[in-house]
Point group: C2
Chain length 147, copies 2
């Protein structure tokens, strides 16, 4: 196994959120914004129009990893293992967001459900498949919380 791997941005998020403190679950749900792929990647978006949902893989460029226990942003009363949270300050600051695909125009995807801040680097786009849907799961320490 290699010591490390290199990834590069393929696009950028355009939306109204300027800081991560603004982003709450309720605001996120309706939030419409754009995923702009750099033009050289546009060809890779062929056939994506038929999918109602996609997964945006993004780079948490404001991340500042300091340790394996973190205070969750909206539930800071207790330290939690970072892998039991979606906290951005993690060893590899990769973010995942399943969004609704509203429209595609060339290299621009109009989507609903953005929880990244404006200017976030995008590193991959994937179609949302049946196997990504898991029903009736237990939510651990988040059970009963408004997320």
């Amino acid at each position: 196994m290699e010591d490390s791997y290199r990834i590069k941005p393929i696009g950028i998020v355009r939306c109204t959120f300027k800081t991560r403190d603004e982003i709450t679950e309720s605001k996120k749900r309706g939030n419409v914004g754009e995923i702009e792929l750099f033009e050289e990647y546009e060809e890779g978006l062929s056939d994506i129009d038929g999918f109602s949902h996609i997964i945006v893989v993004w780079w948490m460029h404001k991340s500042d990893f300091r340790g394996l226990k973190v205070k969750p942003l909206h539930f800071p009363e207790k330290l939690r293992g970072v892998f039991a949270t979606r906290h951005p300050d993690r060893p590899n600051p990769i973010g995942l967001t399943a969004v609704q695909l509203l429209e595609r125009k060339g290299n621009i995807l109009k989507v609903r459900g953005i929880d990244m801040i404006d200017g976030t680097p995008v590193i991959d786009i994937k179609p949302y498949l049946e196997s990504d849907r898991k029903d009736g799961g237990r939510l651990g320490w988040l059970t009963g919380r408004n997320i």
Copy 2:
């Protein structure tokens, strides 16, 4: 925006699949294996036990990116835009798999639903949340196919 970012493996997949050709949707579903985090990351798994599902983020170390159109592994009759597929040969070869968490023992997670090959590097673990579940979606070119 920076030109590139560096990520590092935090663990490894242990399972029975030795080549990607062996992996089909039906075999994957029941497939039990282990995600072994390197010991220095064990502390980050605190609080994960209560989640029934987790998302494994992994590095497609056998990936060989050659172009933005690919032949899907199980449906090779037509070239598709790589971002409308889960094909491993993509600009940033990051894989996502939502699996059922069966048991945790220290730095080892026993999971069901693995679709990686044995020895795959793991780069992140995330709890599966309500917002990861999208219902009744359209599946584009995959509609009606057995995936």
